[in-house]
Each structure stands twice: as structure tokens, then as C-alpha cells.
Symmetry: C2
Subunit: 136 residues, 2 copies
DNA sequence: TTATTAATCTACTAAAACTATAGGGTGAAT
DNA sequence: ATTCACCCTATAGTTTTAGTAGATTAATAA
């Protein structure tokens, strides 16, 4: 299951991407429009800012805005930042590889074989989809 | 992340599929060979039996054995039984569809769009992989 | 200039849900 | 009598999803 964190993060990015200009938009407005718990969204937007997708402005009239062009925001990194590793098992993870403790031989492991395929297919989707593809 | 339930279930199915004959194999032996908590594996094998993949025999010399040919066990149903819906969001699930409460319009929802692609690609893998493909 | 207001930032806490596992008893097959 | 699957329950641990309280920053009104 996709975590709400990822779901909310994607919706927020989309909402910001759909704006005409890039003026700051308050958390409250995004949360309201997308039916998201404001405090939860706050922490999500913070991590998206730290990743380099969003800029923020404090004080009155402040809020969040897209820093990059939507076509330069690939789902690969968005998913990694919000949801974590794309691989369902660490032994097939590109960025977070770890050997399975219980598994003596990766090559002959059925879980490894299957999850490798699944990872490749998911990666294919994420690599070929940017935020721009999800906008209206 | 793939749950250990699914991981263990797959390993058990593979272990049984790799046997020469179809004699019953005790839970303890499978658990031992695959480094699995025996009690946990017990409940997993039970659900696999109820799904119709495994048969069991009680008493001395008892255990579990494959009922179907490995080529007739598609990963689609194995994953659904062990891991749950293949879709990461219920609004793109074939077998467990549910409308998102927060989302007013599915067609314009970015999460929906993305997860539809991911589901299709995962489904493609699972549908084209049977237990036979994972054996040695 | 000063006070007020509106917003992000930070950290801590808490409730709820889910995961993984353990324990003990029952009953069937040998 | 023994060996196994079967079934039910409980529980520790982890993750998710928030909520609370306050600090910080910036714009604006007095």
C-alpha cells in the first residue's frame, strides 16, 4: 500500500505544478484544497524542500512554490524520497542494497528472481514519468 | 516493502516445487531449511492450503506438498493471497476497488494516474510468471 | 520604529494500525 | 504413544499518521 505521506506529497506537488505562476502558496491552502491534515502536510513539504523541489517563503504572504520545472521532476526520486526504496526487497535495491541474512544464495533465490522483475518494471514506469505527465 | 509473510510463503512454495517427488514435507523441515520462524510459517502454509495450492497430511510422515503443477501457479494470485492487493491504491485495484474518500475526481488525480501505470506494469510481471519460472 | 499578524520551522509526543512471533491445546494419522 | 497438522489467543515491536507546543521569520499596520 502506498503511504499517505507519498499520496499527499504527490498531490501537493501536482497542486503546485498546476498553478499558473510560481507565487508562494500557504500550506493551509494546499491542505484545504486536497483534504490533507495540515500538520502532516507541513512535514512532507519540508522534506520536499530539502530534496530541492520546493522553495519556501516565511512570514505573511509566504508559502511553498515549485523550484524546478515539472518536467525535471522524475517520479523515481519523488518515490524514493517519500516512499523509500523502489525495490520491495533490499537485495534487489539499486540505492539501498543489503544482503538478506536468511538467504544463502541470491542467484537461486526465487524471491530475488521475482522481485528483480518487479523492480525493473516499476523503475521503467517511474523513470519515464515526470510531474509534468501528471498535470492537467 | 515485501512482507516476511509473502517472502516466506514464496520460499516455501519454491522449496516444495523443487522436490523431486510430491511426498509430504514437515513444516519444521521447511522452516529449518529456509531459516523461517516455524510458527509463523505454519499459518502461512495454512492459507496457501486454503487457497488450493497445497495439500497436507497429518500425523507421522505428514507435512505439506504441492497440489498443482508449478506452471499452474501464477504469481498474480500468490501475491494477492499473501501480500494483498497488487495495486498500491485501492482506487486502481481490479479486485479490491474502493473510491478514495478525499479525492473528488479520479480522472484528474495524479496519484491515480501514476499508480495505474505502476499497477499495470506489476500485473504484467505477475501474470507472466508462474512458480515454475522461479524453480531451479 | 514598534506591535501585530501570518506564516514556516522544529521537536516532542501519542494514538492507531500493522507485523512478526510465541504458546498452548486439539485431534488425526501412523 | 508418538508425531505431526490444525486452531486460537496473546503480545512485543515497529511503522504510520497524525497532534501539540513553541520558536523563528517576514510583512504590514499603528
Amino acid at each position: 500500500m502506498l503511504s499517505k505521506k507519498t499520496k499527499y506529497g504527490l498531490k501537493a506537488l501536482t497542486f503546485l505544478g498546476n498553478q499558473k505562476d510560481r507565487n508562494p502558496i500557504a500550506i493551509a491552502e494546499i491542505a484545504n484544497h486536497e483534504n490533507i491534515s495540515q500538520k502532516f502536510l507541513e512535514s512532507i513539504l519540508l522534506t520536499l524542500r530539502r530534496t530541492g523541489y520546493l522553495g519556501s517563503k516565511k512570514g505573511k504572504g509566504g508559502g511553498y512554490y515549485l523550484i524546478k520545472d515539472p518536467s525535471e521532476i522524475p517520479m523515481t526520486t519523488v518515490m524514493r524520497v517519500l516512499e523509500g526504496p523502489i525495490a520491495m526487497v533490499s537485495c534487489v535495491s539499486l540505492n539501498f542494497y543489503e544482503k538478506c541474512e536468511d538467504c544463502p544464495d541470491e542467484q537461486s533465490c526465487s524471491v530475488h528472481k521475482l522481485m528483480l522483475k518487479v523492480r525493473d518494471s516499476a523503475l521503467d514506469v517511474y523513470r519515464n514519468t515526470t510531474l509534468a505527465d501528471l498535470l492537467n
